[in-house]
Symmetry: C2
Subunit: 424 residues, 2 copies
């Protein structure tokens, strides 16, 4: 049973205030109270703390209609910078953000699959961060904290990569390694958590409470927010929708299961579908995932019948896989992102929407909207920068505890003794 | 974005206190503070309110080791009774509960599929309630409130059966009809919400935060609790795991989709699997769902090879379907219940556990435990009685607002204006 303390409640309030301020841009205390539903006293309290540590600054004063002028507030873009890092299977992408979470610098570098030695990898990451920071004209001394997304199972509390199948990592203490190499406090997490958080703070989550954020790329997964809260699950691996069955006894997935969604919707899955349609198609030459998707886009605009067929078959798979997700968790919104979506998203969604009605129960189907994510930029680095912001606020003495920390605290505190059979 | 008020927080605290007290049986204020993590002041406050309305009573006093004696508290079994009703497709089951949520009377009646006229159905329900109450020696005047579970999509806020495919109901104002026929305030909801709530208050949810409660019967579904909170979804239909794809282009499901989990794990699905194994098997004569499962149990204990094969095939299906659930939401615990589970649960779980490791990702698989639910009695009526208890507390002036009400309130209050593109 989760325990709640007044501190949790206070920090949830701050979370609500910051989300409100990112939505509004600038706001008065009154506007923040109206937006969040928190009391004016609570808002004033939190604003006071955040002004004291330089995170909030005055954005002007305005007439309040007779009384004293009221102060508009904004998040300070001058307070320093946060670093968001997306370490994927084939690249390292870094965005440097100001505290208003606007991008002020970026850099990217390819990553070979064999570069799996932790110490060497973190040196690579540090190099890409330096490049991004210098592009932003930002000396290292003004970088406040970094949030780093890693593939596989990550334990953010312990700072450990529990298991990363692509690198064959088990229990790698990556947070400490990164922090030493970068010279900054570091938060680590999994990309599904990062995209869910981006969507919650900056995408569909600003409007509705239950959002699934579906990533389509080499891999496939979904970040989940339920009742306005990020879903982590028991071991921070919730959202592995890519590894749910679409076809019983179907294609072998790289996870070892058969018939997974990823084996049909991940880029290698798209390539396999194309091979089933026309094994001799030009697009299948070489080992070029990103070029493949771009070539499909070109083929579609040229009316290549095999590409049209690929889109049709893939749309049917996507509709069935989305039907599973929608029937199971009954979201208000499904946001689609990822690099495949960035290239053929509109075309794929159009076909998918044709097949979707037959895959959803009327009750869940009528409640959901499907669309490409409206989050600007890289959702993984943005989500990690958001986590780094929370970490920074703790660091400067305005401690925060999100839902995951609360759960962990409840677990540490032990369970409720069941010394009487209930319900009898 | 959900809004939180101090009232929400207060009521979440009461929820935690009541759950703690159901676990502990009797408790002092100090013990309740230790169990829930709430402050002693908060506990005293809520206890004061609940004593005033007669829900909590003294269960004795004990030496506190020198100072004043401390009072033990318990939930009053004398305060009156709650009614939990499970209207399923083929029966109406009623349990009468005291406020300590112990069963004090019950009755059941068969329901024919053609009895779908709302006014006639509620008269039938009222009759079964009368029978259960008189069995409990409980005059109608001492019944406080009823919680009624209905199949299909239910909107508990509006008291409406939005859509019940088995009865072809659309927008039936069932709460008002029930309340008039029964002569009591009534809460309505869906059985997946009820079993999730039972498991949260009285089953695995006492020990861990993320629980899926899987129901195996004629139909198949899952009630969800995430981070210790009941999951409703956008339109109160979360958990329709029975209508997620197990076999792409597979068996036609009665929902109209193909290859749904329910088409393999619901009792008609088991019968179809048996027909595929041996179309001439004795068990398949007649249209007798419950007898079929009992006959399978008998066949298994007699070593009937077709029954053994059925169990094996069904265990593989169940493992794949559970793998989907586990990989997607990463629960701490999966509790299995329902009448099929009541008859062949242990045998089915044994086979399922053999196949499960190949269906789960290591990260999610190592975090989860699978077992038959430990909730005693009918989880649907117990969950509905729990909702009726919450409703009763509102009714007597100790208003409560659960997560669903909060979500609805946030929606009514409108959304956060997005007057500035974020993340740019």
């Amino acid at each position: 049973m989760p325990k709640r303390t007044s501190k949790d409640i206070r920090n949830e309030s701050r979370f609500a205030l910051l989300r409100g301020l990112y939505s509004l841009g600038t706001a008065t205390r009154q506007e923040l109270a109206a937006t969040t539903g928190l009391s004016f006293a609570t808002i004033s309290n939190i604003v006071g703390e955040l002004v004291e540590v330089g995170v909030l600054v005055e954005a002007g004063r305005e007439d309040s209609g007779g009384g004293r002028p009221v102060t508009r507030l904004k998040i300070s873009p001058e307070r320093g910078a946060l670093v968001g890092v997306d370490i994927a299977e084939t690249y390292i992408h870094v965005d440097v953000y100001d505290l208003a979470l606007g991008v002020i610098g970026q850099a990217e570098s390819e990553l070979a699959i064999e570069e799996n030695e932790p110490a060497a990898l973190v040196r690579r990451v540090a190099g890409v961060i330096d490049e991004a920071a210098s592009g932003a004209g930002m000396p290292r001394s003004r970088l406040l904290r970094a949030g780093v997304s890693l593939p596989g199972q990550v334990d953010p509390q312990r700072g450990v990569s529990v298991f990363a199948p692509n690198w064959d990592w088990h229990e790698v203490h990556i947070q400490a390694l990164l922090s030493e190499a970068i010279g900054l406090p570091v938060d680590v997490d999994n990309p599904l958590r990062a995209i869910a958080l981006s969507e919650l703070w900056f995408g569909a989550g600003r409007l509705v409470n239950n959002v699934a954020t579906v990533n389509l790329g080499t891999g496939v997964g979904a970040g989940l927010a339920i009742d306005g809260e990020l879903v982590r699950g028991a071991s921070n691996t919730a959202g592995e929708w890519g590894h749910t069955t679409l076809v019983f006894d179907g294609r072998l997935c790289r996870c070892g299961r058969h018939g997974c969604v990823e084996a049909y919707l991940g880029v290698p899955g798209l390539q396999q579908t194309m091979a089933e349609i026309n094994a001799g198609h030009d697009l299948l030459t070489g080992d070029r995932q990103r070029e493949f998707v771009s070539d499909v886009a070109k083929g579609l605009s040229d009316g290549d019948p095999d590409c049209v067929k690929l889109l049709e078959v893939t749309g049917r798979y996507f509709a069935a896989a989305l039907g599973n997700l929608i029937n199971f968790i009954n979201p208000d919104h499904v946001s689609v992102l990822g690099w495949t979506a960035g290239i053929i998203g509109p075309e794929l969604l159009k076909v998918t929407e044709k097949y979707l009605p037959r895959e959803v129960l009327p009750s869940a189907g009528s409640a959901v909207r499907l669309g490409l994510s409206t989050v600007v930029g890289n959702s993984v680095t943005l989500g990690m920068a958001t986590l780094a912001l929370e970490g920074f606020l703790e660091q400067v003495g305005v401690p925060s505890r999100g839902p995951a920390a609360r759960t962990a605290a409840a677990k540490r505190a032990g369970v409720v003794p069941a010394n009487q059979a209930a319900g009898t």
